[in-house]
Every structure is written in structure tokens, then in C-alpha cells.
């Protein structure tokens, strides 16, 4: 019997666990939002500590993702700047806070 990975992902990305609602492309998708503080080394004598917003979601939920797309997560506006598909149906989206 085939295992539906997409269904497994949908079951994992529930908001009463770790997922958040994300306003995107006129609708709502779900994903795990991380925003850890990281040291950014941009060439100065010391690094800058800055938050690094990332959204992990189903690739199927963002079939037409594009640079500059808007997302709203926890009432904060973000723009999509980059994304990495892992090839198994999961995508990590790099966000820029507006």
C-alpha cells in the first residue's frame, strides 16, 4: 500500500502542534515558522546578531512561489526572498521582514 507523504505532511503541519497559519496568495497555508537569532558575518570586525525568519511548508502549497511574494505570519509582513525545495515535498522559504 502506498504511503501518502503529502497527507503525512498535512497531518504534521497542524496549528495545535508547531505550525502557524500563513496568509499567502489570497489564502491560508500552514507551515512551521522559525525565527532564531543568528550571527551574521557581513565583513565587519564583529558579526551582527539578527533574526532569521524561515518558513517550512509543503511544496504543494506554494506551486507558483516567486521572489517578492508577500506572506503574513503572526501579524508580521514578510516578503519571499529565496526558497529551497528538498525534493520530498517540503520547502524552506527565506523571508525578509518588512
Amino acid at each position: 500500500m502506498a504511503i501518502s507523504f503529502a497527507t503525512d505532511l498535512a497531518n504534521m503541519l497542524v496549528t495545535d502542534e508547531f505550525a502557524s497559519d500563513v496568509t499567502y496568495d489570497g489564502g491560508t497555508i500552514k507551515g512551521v515558522f522559525d525565527n532564531e537569532t543568528v550571527p551574521v558575518d557581513a565583513g565587519g570586525i564583529v558579526p551582527v546578531h539578527e533574526e532569521q525568519p524561515r518558513l517550512t511548508c509543503r511544496t504543494a502549497d506554494i506551486p507558483s512561489i516567486a521572489y517578492g511574494d508577500a506572506m503574513v505570519i503572526n501579524s508580521v509582513n514578510y516578503k519571499v526572498r529565496a526558497w529551497i525545495h528538498d525534493g520530498t515535498g517540503v520547502t524552506v522559504v527565506q523571508l525578509e521582514k518588512q
Binding site: P39, D41, G44, V46, E50, E51, R81, K97
Partner: protein, 147 residues
């Protein structure tokens, strides 16, 4: 009294604190710890390498070529490159207006600018690294007094 190098560094810090209004007095001397998000825009000042040689035969003076590094940090969405250049304007003009570093040096000259950017975090960070060559002279036996 202190080494003239320290006096030069302190003078850079006070001059930039007073004149670079775009960083709102966030000028840090020889900072070794990370800059937090809330502390941007900011400037760090530190003294790097220094070459020295005898001024001339028969005297005990040393001429020194000190590198003073001024790093300008900004964080912004669309204007990070323009913002860092705007800070460079204020830094360069402030140091040019104090060319002899309050008479501690023979002169301070900008000899290099390096721009770096990062988009790894929530907003782009831009950094301009300005290197000033500061030429000053001391006696071998008194390095706390500029000549």
C-alpha cells in the same frame, strides 16, 4: 598620559560620535562582541597595523603609519547600499575636517573602502570598511607625546 595611538583612536571616536548623526552616537571603540539588531546603524573604530621607522639619522624620533579601521553597519530592506554610502559621506567629511587628528598626527588619509553585504537574516546588512592611514611622529623615549 597614554600612547599616542590610543589618543588618536579616542579622537576618531569622539569626532565620529559628534559628526556622524546617521548612527545616533552609536560609535564603538575596539568592540569585540557582536552588534545586536537594536544597535544598528552603528560604527566600530579600531586601530590595526602600524609600521614605523626612524625619522632620520641622528635623531631619536620614530615616524609611524597607523591604520585606523572604521566599519559602518546598516540594516535596511531596499536602501541598505544607499544608507551605508550616506554614512560614509559623514565619516569621510568628519575626518577630513580634523585632518591632523587634533594635532596628534601629520595627517589622516582615507586609503581604502571595502563594501560587503549579507542577506542571510531578516533584513539585508550592509557594511562599509573605511581604512585611514594616520601618519604621526613620536620620540623613541616618549611615545605618549606627538611631535
Amino acid at each position: 598620559m597614554a600612547h599616542v595611538r590610543k589618543s588618536i583612536r579616542d579622537r576618531f571616536i569622539s569626532t565620529l560620535t559628534s559628526n556622524v548623526t546617521l548612527v545616533s552616537s552609536r560609535v564603538y571603540g575596539t568592540r569585540v562582541y557582536p552588534i545586536t539588531d537594536a544597535s544598528l546603524p552603528a560604527i566600530t573604530v579600531y586601530t590595526g597595523s602600524e609600521a614605523s621607522s626612524r625619522y632620520n639619522m641622528g635623531v631619536t624620533d620614530i615616524t609611524r603609519e597607523l591604520s585606523v579601521e572604521v566599519d559602518c553597519y546598516v540594516k535596511a530592506t531596499d536602501t541598505f547600499d544607499d544608507d551605508v554610502d550616506a554614512i560614509c559621506v559623514q565619516v569621510e567629511e568628519a575626518i577630513a575636517g580634523d585632518f591632523t587628528i587634533n594635532s596628534l598626527a601629520k595627517g589622516a588619509t582615507l586609503i581604502g573602502t571595502e563594501m560587503n553585504f549579507s542577506g542571510d537574516a531578516e533584513q539585508p546588512v550592509g557594511i562599509a570598511k573605511l581604512t585611514f592611514n594616520v601618519r604621526y611622529v613620536t620620540s623613541m623615549t616618549d611615545v605618549e607625546t606627538a611631535k
